[in-house]
Symmetry: C2
Subunit: 188 residues, 2 copies
Amino acid sequence: MMDVYISLLHFPVYDKNRRIVTTAVTNMDIHDIARAARTYDLAGYFLVTPIREQQAMVQELIDHWTKGAGGEYNPVRRKAFELLRVVPDFEAVRAEVQRRGGAIPLTVGTSAGRGPRALSFEALRRRMESDDGSVILTLGTGWGLEKKFFESLDEVLEPIDGRSEYNHLSVRSAATVMLDRLRGRRSQ
Amino acid sequence: MMDVYISLLHFPVYDKNRRIVTTAVTNMDIHDIARAARTYDLAGYFLVTPIREQQAMVQELIDHWTKGAGGEYNPVRRKAFELLRVVPDFEAVRAEVQRRGGAIPLTVGTSAGRGPRALSFEALRRRMESDDGSVILTLGTGWGLEKKFFESLDEVLEPIDGRSEYNHLSVRSAATVMLDRLRGRRSQ
């Protein structure tokens, strides 16, 4: 069984006009994905932003909910925030996961669009259950992960197929659905 | 095939100390669930609050994104907001769905806790595909739907089982996962 990590990138991603930008960290993405990461028993959640002020802001949140009075007041939030780390770039995610697991992690990109190579949720789920090592699921904010970075990842996960041509879930909702498809338990 | 509706109740729900309260409408719940409703091809999304000022605020948002300059500027948002209605109580949801569909709708409660009666996601999915008429999925904000109201609903859906004892998804993430389990298309 693989250790599963999720990472949310604020750079390099596209804006509406397909320019490469750094997006702002948003509070709801932090909270909702941290709660989902704990619910689906992940090994960690990495928030990636190159902006120092935003790194410091996220670190303050983490400290507040894991060390301070916040963690005693709200243990539910503490358990979610314990999984969260903030790092400047994806190389730092890769290095930290490798340091913890000992082997080179599998990196998996996600996108709302369908490309030529795509692993199905079922195929990745089976692989995560049968293989050893670690996997890093990688999500972009804004209008998605920059092309060159995206192509540098080992695998690409198929997009979430709802029941319409409309594919505009928020990144926090999309992250939770992905984890549910890859990790959720189902009764019949 | 049933027409599927989702409703998010801000009353009657519990607070942290199990008092019955009215919670505040939050912007992210409006946006994220509207986008999920459109992605999973629902027939409508009802936001339920008895507070007139909050009804007016939500109606302004709806008008802005569906009628005003907002809808032209952002058609993605328009398509999501077209599904949204704001109503004062659950009776208004029931009445409107019955008016549209002609028959008495099936009402389904959801909860993060496991109770004595619970329909599995698979069972409800099959029923939604084989039956006619309409179904209203009902979610509570705060610490969940008040007991008497909850018991007045026709059916109860099993809780989302992640992969841990931790079951604290945000209501917007939980709504999206439910819709994915009930309506999402899956490849093998």
